[in-house]
Symmetry: C2
Subunit: 330 residues, 2 copies
């Protein structure tokens, strides 16, 4: 796929485009010659960070604002060829303490965007960034897209509602939508201020600071960590596909790694940090989903995407990035 | 089960208590000696109707207000032993045209109630009225509670979110919740002003007015119609059970009847009305769920409820009620 040919001069709106995934995608699309508009409200303690798009700052139209603002969303949606719909409240624990805020952003905000598409730009193509969290816990070893959702926190309920909206606006209103359910992402440009926004990045911070890394329980819970450059690639490839039928695709490495092994890998690669084992805090235990490994065969066979970057390589690049840019993220 | 002994002097809040199911439940609970408070906002064209509770009007505390009003909800939740949580925007077609209104009532309104329980009355028992609509269309002949939800309209997305909230507030916050997924209800005290609020009741109105009853397509789609007195019984029985674990139970007749057969039955019982066949309107076709018959074996085995009233008997009683009270409902 010649992405440069496909995305050059395309008008693209990225919500949450100053955040972890959004900014990596924005940089790549801008480099491919797309006309990128970012809508990001820079919510406190969330991932939005102007430094994230520094390499392409001059080429990108950044609008500080909110997907909760219907009038602004209406204005921005007009004339766009693509919507990469990534803005979200992303903290599971915050969603339990502030369920209304989570609902306003992750549920109502999505309706704002889809109503804008329906009324003002019905030929747009919308890629919705969902989360593996909607699966909750499952006894299955490898989770495919047919697995029944089992949301275990308010965040996951609203992300699931967002998925359903995208499916329904496709089936009923004909809006071209596609849903990517992303596993645990890691890599450069993530929020590094709190563990709730991506545990692996948080561990990297602790390691670089030569701090103790606390593992809850025995650390044997399996997770699927996927490097952000691979995720960006999945968004580009999905966006360039013809699969805008409200369908859902897992995005992950397809491989399970135990928490304890990933922490060992981080400590080794960083050459710093120390592992300690602690018992589960009550609140975390109640909403923890246990093992999760994504079955990524559907996106491979239908869209042709697969992860390319090994965990070792991804960790090396991530640690290198934060070593260089510590003061921008700590 | 001696319901009188169980519910006598219990403090019970019924949201949507002037509507179809809510008012039938309120009357029954009031007759059993419970202290019933109704919260109902009497939304235009919805089912709320003060005449619905006329038989027990003096015994019931009616508060005109809205589950969207958090301050009011907080005030009313205090001191209640039970919450029968029935208030909803119930029109599928309206939910597609006014998705924000539907979200405010059916999603955010539920969070208002559960947050009030969590903060002000954590020992309350809450029975949430959900809908068979969350199953959407399914190739299965008999739908049990393990069937993966497949919401096909915005209403169903938000009812499903309401279910998830009730489950999560049980698992994480320990609130005693229980979810009943109700099939197509019919019977006295339903809204009779528009077809979108219960198709069977609407057909009864047309028959009593000796009008044409339009069937979309061949009318062979199967539905599960359950008489409101049976539904009320399921709420009483579930409320008196020990199954407040955020679990889900189907409530239905467990038998499928085709639309065309039910209309014939209505015309015969009413002795009036005329069947005509028309092709599917576009919007209805897109959100129609096809066949639906509830598997009600779980509630029977765990809670001991089963439907007792035959379709023939239910239709006779319903037609008799509206014949007598036409001017209150037309």
């Amino acid at each position: 796929m010649d992405f440069e040919k496909f995305y050059k001069n395309k008008n693209i709106l990225i919500t949450g485009g100053l955040g972890f995934l959004g900014s990596n995608l924005a940089i790549r699309l801008s480099e491919l010659g797309a006309k990128v508009t970012i809508l990001d409200c820079l919510l406190k303690i969330h991932g939005g960070n102007l430094f994230n798009i520094q390499p392409v700052r001059k080429e990108i139209n950044f609008v500080r604002g909110d997907i909760r603002n219907a009038a602004l969303v209406n204005k921005l949606i007009k004339g766009q060829d693509f919507l990469f719909n990534i803005a979200a409240q992303t903290s599971h624990t915050d969603s339990m303490e502030q369920p209304f805020l989570d609902g306003d952003i992750n549920s109502k905000g999505q309706l704002n965007l889809l109503e804008a598409c329906r009324r003002l730009n019905p030929s747009i193509r919308a890629v919705y960034c969902s989360s593996r969290a909607i699966y909750g816990s499952s006894p299955k070893k490898l989770i495919d897209e047919g697995t029944a959702p089992n949301p275990l926190d308010v965040y996951s309920v609203h992300k699931l509602a967002g998925e359903h909206y995208h499916k329904i606006y496709n089936k009923v209103h004909g809006i071209k939508t596609l849903i990517l359910r992303v596993a645990n992402g890691y890599g450069p440009r993530a929020q590094m201020k709190a563990p709730s926004f991506g545990i692996l990045n948080w561990f990297i911070r602790l390691a670089l600071d030569n701090m103790e890394i606390k593992i809850f329980g025995d650390g044997k819970q399996m997770r699927d960590y996927v490097y952000v450059v691979d995720i960006v690639q999945s968004f580009l490839q999905a966006g360039a596909s013809e699969h805008f039928n409200g369908d859902i695709y897992n995005v992950g490495s397809g491989r399970g790694v135990s928490l304890v092994n990933i922490v060992r890998e981080i400590v080794t690669t960083a050459g710093r940090g120390k592992i300690v084992y602690v018992s589960w805090p009550d609140t975390n235990k109640k909403i923890d989903v246990g093992d999760f490994v994504a079955d990524v065969s559907k996106i491979k066979s239908e869209i042709g995407w697969q992860p390319e970057i090994s965990l070792r390589e991804g960790l090396e690049k991530t640690i290198e990035f934060y070593r260089l840019n510590k003061k921008r993220y700590w």
